[in-house]
Symmetry: C2
């Protein structure tokens, strides 16, 4: 355990780190990968509780990880451990050999997230081609949260729920969707929101959240989020577009819940004036789907069954054409959340994911109805070992009045 | 030119798109790459003026590009061009063949930015291994901005300068650095800032900007930015940390300049009360380095010569230990900016970049001095064909009073 004790890198505590490492190693063993270099920020954060630039060496043969830190180098140099401060990854194999660690099998790399050029370079350090992909191992491990992770998410949920309570105070008559969003961003940031929105996939971009009203909700976006919107500029075509918030027109608010490195995901509906009967029915359907799916969230449940149930409920209500979009439809009704906003499991028709206790899942059965805009709620749930899931995002699921 | 005229994808205008494409093709010819698939958001935006999910096929043998759009599919389906709507990249080779395009040489891919898994998948569509890297071609083409791009950057500079003029109104006595930053974020957003901060490199993260005061400036960060800071959380260890802004203590403000898909980069110094003599001298040195380096910004100038001049000026003033950081030093004094905040050229000691007319470069000679914090300014310049570069970021380079 020397690496854990010698340096001060691990902020998780020894037991919590071992719990996470053991989950990763279990996945590595199942994939036939005996050692790996982890370098993505989200995975370094997962395994140490902090972000540093460098690598974590994980082996199924040894208990503790080894750290190879590029920046900030005081993390290791302050502790007189020059062997763990590196300038480039080419130094790693000799440092491992000096520790008596020898392993000729292919080195596991995050092949689904690191670039082609970097994967080749890292594998070449070990005299190999990249062949062992540990991305699925890390994704799989991270899908089942530890108690400490759930506690962080619980804190997020409380803060995000507080911000959502304050949202009516962010509104002034005659505002545009963008102006409203800016005041919500400020309220979130003042509550401690870090702003950074971590999402897997280089082509996923969004700034702080999505506030949608009116016909803008029906503008398809290139991004694989549940909802679209034209955005303010063709360089970032998603979300609020400068549309004035009109009386009796629903407003959907789905903003960033990252308060501590973990994220809850939450959506609520706001309105100045009165919702129409139709809008009330659609929102009740979304809330009903959430409740029904939450009731199905037990260990062993199939993710695809949850999706199909939601889709069936939408169809039964005559709302199939508007479910998860209208001109364009998102292909899922829920997703894991944690360090990133799109973790496992995925609640989608062809998902093979099976729910497990400790999954943290955002459900967002949403509708886009011409004339009404985007309508629906989103909650984040923790799948329990027994019984109902725990809801982390608490606020009225009705239309919340802006006046 | 059918692809350009048949669909409505290209927002740049035919001439502007051809100008950009020609620069990319020139780089491809020099690299021996005859065709390529472009899929990164920043490069798709560069070649069309919009972000979509999909691919742009560029060939040195044909004038126009071909678009293969995944989302939003109405971009192509509204124009009855089903051959350009794809569900997966495996469809592309047959679609190209149907257009009579046949090319057996390795397909160029953005190997420095797409993931290993995706590079393998895309090359396999063409029955190959990934071997032709077009990332340097795109980076090289994008380093020299067109007149239209410079005009967008000029607009950014104006808006960003306006926001910087309003920054004193964001301040209230007793604020923390984070609270001050939140009000600056709001002012920027209300001026039209898109917020999204595009940066090359998956391990570079920052939310909206960096406001530094006091000893926090001397906390090294894992990220390869000019300045560090502890940040609010170990999951995002950079920038403001909640430190109260004290009287007579300099505050450095370096916030997001993305108003239209392009970004200027600008830093100014603020203070409540009076700067010390020492602080005034350090700021004058930063301003002086900017002016001197701007004078050297001519086509044909070596980027490393600019860096060395800055470094020499810092050393001559007895400030070598504090130049570009103190406990940790950034390895550059300037960088290209455009769609991303870290484009070419890089103004660094071992840079081989040669300046060209149309380069847009942010210079940020900054110092971290114990007891004073971070001090320095940053301006964005356009390298002119003849004469002095144009400055895009205009505001007083003195300490700006907060009271």
């Amino acid at each position: 355990m020397d690496a854990i004790d010698k340096y001060n890198i691990n902020l998780l505590g020894v037991d919590e780190q071992q719990r996470r490492l053991e989950k990763v190693k279990e996945q590595m063993r199942a994939a036939g990968i005996s050692h790996a270099l982890v370098r993505n920020n989200v995975n370094i954060y997962y395994l140490t509780g902090r972000v540093f630039r460098g690598f974590i060496y994980v082996s199924t043969d040894i208990e503790a990880p080894y750290y190879f830190v590029r920046e900030p180098n005081h993390l290791v140099s302050d502790h007189h451990a020059p062997d763990s401060h590196i300038r480039k990854p080419e130094e790693i194999p000799a440092l491992l050999a000096a520790k008596g660690l020898k392993n000729d099998s292919p080195i596991g790399l995050e092949l689904d997230t690191i670039t082609y050029s970097e994967a080749r370079r890292l594998a070449a350090c070990f005299g190999k081609e990249p062949s062992a992909n540990i991305s699925p191992c890390l994704r799989g491990a991270r899908a089942v949260k530890t108690a400490a992770e759930i506690e962080k998410l619980r804190c997020d949920g409380k803060k995000q729920s507080l911000v959502y309570e304050r949202i009516p105070h962010c509104f002034r008559e005659g505002m545009t969707d963008v102006e409203f969003q800016i005041e919500i961003e400020r309220a979130s940031r003042l509550e401690g929101c870090l702003g950074q929105f971590r999402v897997a996939g280089s082509d996923m971009e969004l700034f702080m959240g999505n506030v949608l009203t009116g016909h803008n909700a029906d503008t398809p976006s290139p991004y694989d989020f549940a909802m679209g919107g034209e955005g303010l500029d063709a360089s970032l075509p998603v979300g609020a577009c400068g549309e004035i918030i009109r009386e009796n027109m629903p407003v959907m608010v789905d903003v960033n819940g990252n308060y501590n490195g973990y994220m809850t995901d939450m959506t609520r509906m706001y309105i100045q004036g009165e919702p129409s009967e139709n809008a009330l029915q659609v929102l009740a359907l979304s809330s009903d789907i959430c409740r029904t799916l939450a009731g199905m969230m037990r260990p062993g449940a199939k993710a695809c069954d949850l999706y199909n149930k939601a889709s069936q409920m939408a169809a039964d209500a005559g709302m199939a054409d508007f479910f998860m979009g209208h001109r364009s439809h998102a292909g899922f009704v829920g997703h894991g959340v944690g360090i990133e906003v799109n973790e496992l499991p995925v609640i989608a028709p062809r998902s093979r994911d099976i729910l497990a206790a400790g999954n943290v899942i955002a459900l967002e059965p949403k509708f886009v109805v011409p004339g009404l805009g985007a309508i629906g709620i989103e909650n984040t749930y923790v799948v329990a070992a027994e019984g109902e899931p725990e809801v982390l995002t608490k606020a009225s699921e009705q239309f919340i009045r802006l006046d």
